[in-house]
Amino acid sequence: MVKTTEESRSTARAPATTPAWPSDLKMRATGLDFYYGGRQALYSIGLQILTGRITALIGPSGCGKTTFLRILNRMYETVPHARPEGEVFLDGEDIFSLDVVGLRRRVGMVFQKPNPFPKSIFDNIAYGLRVNGMDRHSTLAEAVERSLRRAALWEEVKDQLHKSAYALSGGQQQRLCIARALAVEPEALLLDEPCSALDPIATAKIEELLFNLKDLCTMVIVTHNMQQAARVADYTGFFLMGRLIEFNKTAVIFKTPARKETEDYITGRFG
């Protein structure tokens, strides 16, 4: 299995150098529709995700922003009868023709509720590494420390790596989940309302962390907290009823939105 992942990775890298694909572009969706069984959830989404930037997706509940996010690493496949139509590219390659395991290895995900495994802190982070074929303890230990440092959690947990992850606070658990996702060194990280279960202080820590991770990987964050989008994101997309209403630099979206719906939403007139 590990071999397949690596093979798909090496073949995956080759076309990335084709001149047609701009180097500052990480992912691109064009004409993307999405269906849950017979119900259409997304209508013709077109969106570009730039390398090394944070892209925020905002909009009221049920607008399709999480659905869109879960297409980017094909996590929608866990839902029966879910079906996308259209194209999504990662470094110039169609993600629907990639090996799904390899794709998720390249495009990591952090979830709404902190979801550590019922294992020790160390094993939580080592899990992804072991799955991807790393099993020498010394290399594992290094990688675990590196990931925890990147997630700004190392200083808090370095003396209790073998304690249960459930002993950590909610905010620490979420940073552990970020560290776990970073451990396999993904090119892009998808964050699905990562702060919705956290208090303001823990939220601030995560936001600072995301800001510092920008050099390391491209991030897409779904949030229903508009201030959060304004604080952390370089680009923001506004979703409404399955459509991408507006997409632009965050400053533009929040200061001079082009569309009436966007303005109504960010000024709190609905949603």
Partner: protein
């Protein structure tokens, strides 16, 4: 309840009977009392059961003492009673059943909860749960007419020629045997394991599966390394539930196990279980000592069940602490 009392009524200490009745009508006290009685009745029945088993087995307890547990001879004619062959038969047949039923049951549960389409999973589970309702005498008959001949003509000779160097597969072949008893028990307990394990596996939060998948784990890696360990305690509980059933099963076992109180390493040899000997010999027990020895066997079975369940508890506690606290 209908006419909501004002908050002042809540604050006032209940001094009068009227006040008490009024509170009763709110239901809390009634519910508390009824559920307490329900719980207490279980304890009372258990205590009475042990008391009866204990007081009605005075004769053999005084005559044999502790050696009742270790005695290998069961000879009603000469008045010599030892429980060891029955303890052996009960433990070995149940262990054999678990050996077969646990991989089968957990495997099926994983398939039904993780891999099968929901509709197929639900239909199959319904059928499997029906199996749990089949009377044990039916399993016994199937054992006698189908399993035992197949064992005698096919499986046992094959095992003897291929694995005959092992002490488990030696000796004369009768068909009725410890192996037959264990296999019939396995078939009987597998539905419990499948049904409970499936429920537990399906209760594992979807976030756990997705966390593993999001790191590039395959479906199987996510299932085997994340979902199953998360559900481990529940799966063990299903196994112990099944074990309790196996230890106490009477009818089906006595029909195929051979009913011969001997201790043999070979699974081809007949055996006897505690429940089976009580059922078979109780009506014909002549003399107080014989009768009371059988009652003491009942006490032994009770103790055995407690011992095994206690060990099971310890295993759960130990493994839970080693891994991590369940969330």
């Amino acid at each position: 309840m209908a006419s909501a009392p004002t908050t002042v009524d809540h604050v006032r200490p209940p001094g009068r009977t009227w006040e008490f009745i009024k509170r009763l009508r709110r239901g809390d006290e009634v519910a508390h009392l009824i559920t307490l009685l329900a719980a207490a009745s279980i304890i009372v029945v258990t205590v009475m059961l042990v008391y009866q088993l204990y007081t009605n087995s005075t004769l053999p307890r005084h005559k044999f003492g502790f050696s009742f547990f270790l005695g290998k001879t069961w000879d009603p004619v000469s008045g010599e009673f030892g429980a060891l062959p029955f303890i052996f038969g009960t433990v070995v047949s149940s262990a054999l059943a678990l050996l077969v039923a646990v991989p089968l049951g957990v495997g099926a549960a994983i398939f039904l909860s993780e891999l099968a389409p929901p509709r197929i999973s639900n239909v199959t589970t319904f059928v499997i749960e029906l199996l749990a309702a089949v009377p044990s005498v039916i399993y016994g008959l199937l054992g006698i007419f189908i399993l035992v001949p197949v064992l005698r003509k096919g499986v046992m000779p094959f095992l003897k020629t291929t694995l005959g160097f092992l002490p488990f597969f030696q000796g004369p072949i009768y068909g009725v045997s410890m192996l037959a008893g264990g296999l019939v028990l396995a078939v009987m307990i597998v539905p419990f394991i499948i049904s409970v394990s499936r429920e537990v596996l399906m209760a594992v939060p979807v976030e756990q599966r997705e966390a593993a998948l999001a790191m590039g784990a395959t479906k199987w890696e996510s299932t085997w390394q994340v979902v199953v360990p998360f559900a481990r305690v529940g799966i063990m509980a299903s196994v112990f539930l099944a074990l309790a059933r196996a230890l106490g099963e009477t009818m089906a076992v006595t029909m195929v196990i051979g009913n011969d109180p001997r201790i043999s390493a070979s699974l081809f040899a007949p055996g006897y279980t505690i429940a089976a000997v009580i059922a078979n010999e109780f009506t014909e027990a002549t003399g107080d000592l014989y009768l009371e020895a059988l009652i003491e066997l009942g006490l032994v079975l009770f103790l055995l069940t407690i011992l095994i369940n206690g060990l099971a508890r310890l295993v759960i506690i130990a493994t839970t602490q080693k891994g991590a606290a369940q969330g």
